[in-house]
């Protein structure tokens, strides 16, 4: 019986790769497309509702629509439904604002046991914090480029 560590790392990686189970990328993409589309359709419905029944225009309806979607996400996350939907929907539920809402809300619920300040407050943006940071930073970079190009008269 050979008991020396004869299997080198490289040959092991080959064996492991043969048994590897790939993510079903095509299926995930199709699910993401339809779930993401469904959420956007609901969002559009909410927008239309606000414009039809309340004093909103196409320019101003974005904020109340986002808030409503986040509110629905909060309920679905709190009742433990959202993560089950997300397992099927993948990027479909992660990319829209609902995914961002879920990241914040789930962290807030999770760390409630450590108190409001150090628990909820300190951990709420644990996952979503980097989205805010890099979102703001890339907006800054794009704005900077636009300003420079405007100064030079390129655009």
């Amino acid at each position: 019986m050979d008991n020396s560590p004869s299997t080198t790392k490289k040959s092991y990686q080959k064996i492991a790769q043969q048994q590897e189970r790939k993510r079903p990328i095509l299926k995930n993409c199709i699910y993401a497309f339809f779930f993401g589309g469904l959420i956007c359709t609901i969002g559009q419905g909410i927008s239309t509702f606000y414009m039809y029944f309340f004093d909103f225009t196409e320019q101003t309806v974005g904020n109340p629509t986002t808030a409503t979607l986040i509110f629905i996400t909060m309920l679905l996350t709190g009742f433990g439904v959202y993560d089950h939907i997300a397992q099927f929907a993948g990027a479909g539920t992660a990319v829209p604002v609902t995914g961002f809402g879920n990241a914040v809300i789930s962290a807030a619920i999770e760390h409630r046991s450590e108190g409001f300040v150090q628990g909820v407050g300190g951990n709420m943006f644990k996952l979503a914090g980097s989205v805010i940071l890099f979102g703001v930073f890339s907006a800054f970079v794009v704005a900077l480029i636009k300003t420079i190009l405007l100064e030079w008269g390129v655009i």
Binding site: N3, T7, Q13, P24, T77, G80, D83, A94, E110, S113
Partner: protein, 336 residues
Amino acid sequence: MLRGKQTWEFENRPTIISTGITGGPFEAKGNLTATFDQLYNDLRLEQNSFEQAHQLLLESACQHALRKSNITKEAVQFLIAGDLINQITPTSFTARTYQIPYIGTFSACATSMESLALAANLINSNNANYVLTGSSSHNAAVEKQFRYPTEYGGQKPPTAQWTVTGAGVGLLANKGDGPKVTSATIGKVVDMGMTDPFNMGEAMAPAAIDTIATHLMDRGIDASYYDCIITGDLAEIGRSIALELAKQKNILLNTDTFLDCGLMLYKKDQQVFAGASGSGCSAVVTYGHLINQLNDKKLNKILVVATGALLSPLTVQQKQSIPCIAHAVSIENGGR
């Protein structure tokens, strides 16, 4: 007595005289429900936090083991146990409750067999008459530490595993009726450079085979000596890799008798991806289903090889590979 390189043989036959098994709501829908002493309907076990629920799982498992044996906790010399939570607090807090002299252990998901090996050694060397040993894990408490918040909607890949909510405890004695712990092999840390924390089976399989190979060589026996060789939580991918590695090392493992605790605990329709994992996984299946099978003489000689991935969320983020370990303990009826 040391046999070979890293195996202890226990000539005084430490006996597992009773066990205690507890589980959560997901386990209550599983495949081995009849083997649990207590199943909780609430994931939080009506506690204030998942961590406290984790502690209660172990506390009540200990209680069931003591109750079934009619041994008082004062008669127990040592508690040897561990879990996956930082600083193994659920286990240490249980030791606070029970006031039994305590040795805390950690080998990630291999903690159950590390603890059993040490407990058997203490009994075998007459350094204890009764030792309580076991391991536990809680899905939400462990996920919180190693992954994302429980309700976070992250899509898990098919290679991921499901952390067991449960505790398994065994009471070892120097005499009495029950299956005997006959030997134990303490594993080496094996690292094949795997880095995917969502594919633990792949990282742990080489450690399992290394320990199995060493165990068989140290004891001078064939894999066919055992009715079953049961790994801790390799799950589907790890198990198929382990079979492939065994073939390369000329260890004849029979696919029917090479089992995995991670594939036994849940039903097929429960979404656990590649299989179950967690330090409670091997403990619950070993002290529950497997000990029952030994007591019923359906199995007579088994080797339990618990596997553990010794990573932390920090080492994963710092792009370190995943070191793994496996500890093997043989449990037999009547001894060798």
